[in-house]
Amino acid sequence: MENSSIEVHNLSVSYQNVPVLWDIDFTLPKGQIVGIIGPNGSGKSTLLKAIMGLIPLASGNVKVLNKNLSLVRDQLAYVPQRETVDWNFPASVEDVVLMGRYKKGNLFRRLTKIDKVIAQESIEKVKLEKYKGRQISQLSGGQQQRVFIARALAQGASIYIMDEPFVGVDMSTEKTILDLLIQMKEEGKTIIIVHHDIQTVSNYFDYIVMLNTRLIAHGPTNEVLTEENLQATYGGQLNIISKIQSIIKEKEFPLREKGFEDK
């Protein structure tokens, strides 16, 4: 497809012969905020890792901007889950954001002034300039999440892949991230987010991928976010059904739901 950011074809991934993703096939548009939703263990994070080429595929292929990943790696920026790293690592906010400027080509050389300027701008975009020199363990969960986003921004990529960026963040971080996402979208960036809170889906995303090992549906949010699809995605999880009702209602009256607390 001409205007696609990411294409996934017949993708399957398995751990110990148990399929985690089965025959996934979709194409994502450019310049939109895309949500990947599904219950726990539905393979959302695995899908991101498969797209990033971090895990071996059982079958299928991934195209980024119509090319093989290895050719356009610098166009992809990855924001891993915050819990996947040890925040006691001896580094400051600036040190971590500068990592976004590391590349295969400059790994054995010093960073340039331009790298430092870009890192500074990225820190300002997530409103952490006051904390630039602070050790990363002394940040709140929301601030740590913003550090990760700033690091991805510093890469200057056109596609951003974020794994659960709204988990355990405070309200001010949530707002900062949302404003930033909208600004990035206006600049023509594509943002792909793994998200588990179905209550906020219709507020955040233009386009969604609904996943439960298999692909349930994908398309513009207002077309795809139906009761039928939600049932198929969340299946037997009964406590979800009541939530689904409220989401359908929410779609009719698009009010912002504030369901986030700091951890």
């Binding site: 990033m52 891993p80 790293v85 590349k103």
Partner: protein, 285 residues
């Protein structure tokens, strides 16, 4: 200072600083136990190299060590990832097994006259390293054990200076490093080979057990003191040197093995730092 004391201390310090530099990254990556495993499982490599060359020939030993060091990490990975065994169990199986094979090779194929015996392998003989001097013409060029570790030290220094960015990003967030297209596997391979080679070059002097102390204790102490990676590297070197000097003279004073005393001092510095930091914390809050 006596010449022999100076030569011994020089060897000890070069070993200790090499170990602490690598150890900082082992501590940060939480792979100290892999370092421990490597320090033991290189023994078959040393034994085989020794049999082939009938001497402590550094080139053979380096190759033997590097091969077995890398083999150890691969075996641990295989048990852990492919056979789904817990990581600590995988490490336990791998290094004890390889170490035991090494001990058997030594007892079977070497006679009592050789330098390679089990005591030396375990604890090293730092105090006797000055006996083996290299003299060219009329000039003393240092000891053989110093010239074994010194090139390795230089390689480590260059690797850390140039590979600093790669090492730090992999230690902090390996998946992210991969997503940037950084060749994580290659850097890890060099790093683990250097750990193997360093432990082997330290074998004669400090032995397989105490070298782990040098790999862990100074970096762990430095980790308590600072929250900047560059400072952590520098402070851990400084602590390693201090432990060597104090430990060496204390060992002469009370007539015990120098390598053990160096580790004891190093551990005491760790406890002192830990105590100091905790007292400071309680005073502040």
């Amino acid at each position: 200072m006596e010449l022999n004391d100076f030569l011994t201390l020089l060897t000890a310090i070069t070993i200790a600083v090499s170990c602490s530099l690598l150890g900082c990254f082992l501590v940060l990556r939480k792979t100290v136990m892999v370092g421990d495993a490597i320090s033991h499982s290189v023994l078959p490599g040393i034994a085989i190299a020794y049999l082939l060359s009938s001497s402590f020939n550094s080139v053979f030993m380096l190759i033997g060590a590097a091969v077995f060091g890398v083999f150890t990490t691969l075996l641990i990975d295989f048990f852990h990832k492919k056979l789904k065994l817990q990581e600590d169990a995988s490490i336990g199986i791998t290094f004890t097994w390889l170490f035991a094979i090494g001990v058997i090779i030594i007892t079977l194929f070497t006679n009592s006259n050789t330098d390679l015996d089990q005591d030396c392998v375990l604890f090293g003989e730092l105090s006797s390293t000055f006996l083996d001097k290299i003299i060219i013409g009329d000039y003393l060029m240092g000891t053989r054990s110093f010239w074994m570790i010194f090139p390795v030290f230089l390689i480590i220094l260059v690797f850390i200076l140039f590979g600093y960015k790669g090492l730090s990003i992999i230690s902090f967030n390996e998946d992210y490093a991969k997503s940037l297209g950084i060749n994580v596997g290659f850097i890890n391979l060099i790093f683990m080979s250097l750990v193997s080679v360093t432990t082997v070059m330290s074998f004669e002097s400090v032995g397989a057990i105490l070298v782990v102390g040098l790999l862990v204790i100074p970096p762990a102490t430095a980790y308590l003191i600072t929250d900047k990676l560059k400072r952590m590297l520098i402070i851990s070197c400084f602590l390693a040197i201090t432990s060597c000097i104090i430990g060496f003279y204390l060992s002469i004073l009370i007539d015990v093995t120098a390598s053990s005393m160096i580790i004891v001092v190093s551990g005491c510095l760790f406890l002192l730092t830990f105590g100091y930091i905790n007292i400071k914390k309680t005073l502040i809050f």
